[in-house]
Amino acid sequence: MSRPPILMHIRFKNEDRSFGLWLPLFLLLPLALVVLIILSPLILVALFLLWPSGWSLWALKVLKAACVSFCAMRGLEVDVQNASQHVYISVV
């Protein structure tokens, strides 16, 4: 798994207004960790209850794949422009 993205840059521009936003994605990781710790008892109970049906294994796989996809987002760049609008999204 590669290094997770640190920042997301969003820029929007039209004829009337323009704004840019730097989202600190690195702050999401400690936040997610705190949420995970708080919810861990509930998650464990849910995993235990769903284990016979096979859904818990699937849920863990999805969680892992989501984490991998999030980390793989580094370098993503979307730049769309027409005569009056310009949208730019970049993940650093």
């Binding site: 987002m73 760049e77 979307v78 730049d79 769309v80 422009q81």
Partner: protein, 161 residues
């Protein structure tokens, strides 16, 4: 012959590395030296094809450029207020992760997708796609470049870099 190439050949002569290792190292050096003086065109795989070496592509890029100058009254995507310039760069690792994520799609959803494909005349079973095929597909993307020119002069390019 550069110093690094000499060193690799010396190591090979002294049996410190295998022939395969030497080939790999020489290829890597060749790719690195080819990369120097890059003008920023971003067509590394194309250059590698010419030099005979192959590097793993890092990004898939899709660009749409509207026609420049007078289009003879036809107008173009930019003037019509539709999508004008598009420049999308998708990391290959994200494509890789996305394809792997598709393996977690429940069976019923795959059945529905297969049915929808069949309705559109595509006789293809998604279940038959194996991880090895996906790896091969991603590797083959390095040799791909698509150039399409539309009726209104817009150019669509899909390539890896």
């Amino acid at each position: 012959m550069s110093e690094s190439q000499k060193k690799i050949l010396e190591m090979l002569a002294q049996n410190k590395i295998s022939v395969e290792d030497a080939h790999r190292l020489l290829s890597a050096i060749g790719a690195d030296e080819g990369g120097r003086g890059d003008t920023g065109t971003g067509h590394e795989p194309e250059r590698d094809r010419r030099s005979g070496t192959k590097t793993n592509p890092k990004y898939l890029r899709v660009t749409v450029t509207p026609a420049e100058g007078d289009t003879g009254g036809k107008g173009n995507l930019f003037q019509d207020g539709n999508v004008g310039r598009v420049n999308v760069r998708v990391p290959m690792s994200l494509i890789h992760a996305g394809i792997k994520l598709s393996s977690l799609i429940p069976g019923e959803a795959l059945d529905k997708a297969n049915h929808a494909l069949k309705e559109r005349g595509i006789n293809f079973d998604i279940r038959h796609v194996k991880p090895e095929d996906i790896e091969e597909l991603i590797e083959a993307l390095g040799d791909m470049q698509i150039d399409v020119e539309g009726g209104r002069g817009e150019k669509v390019k899909v390539f890896v870099e």
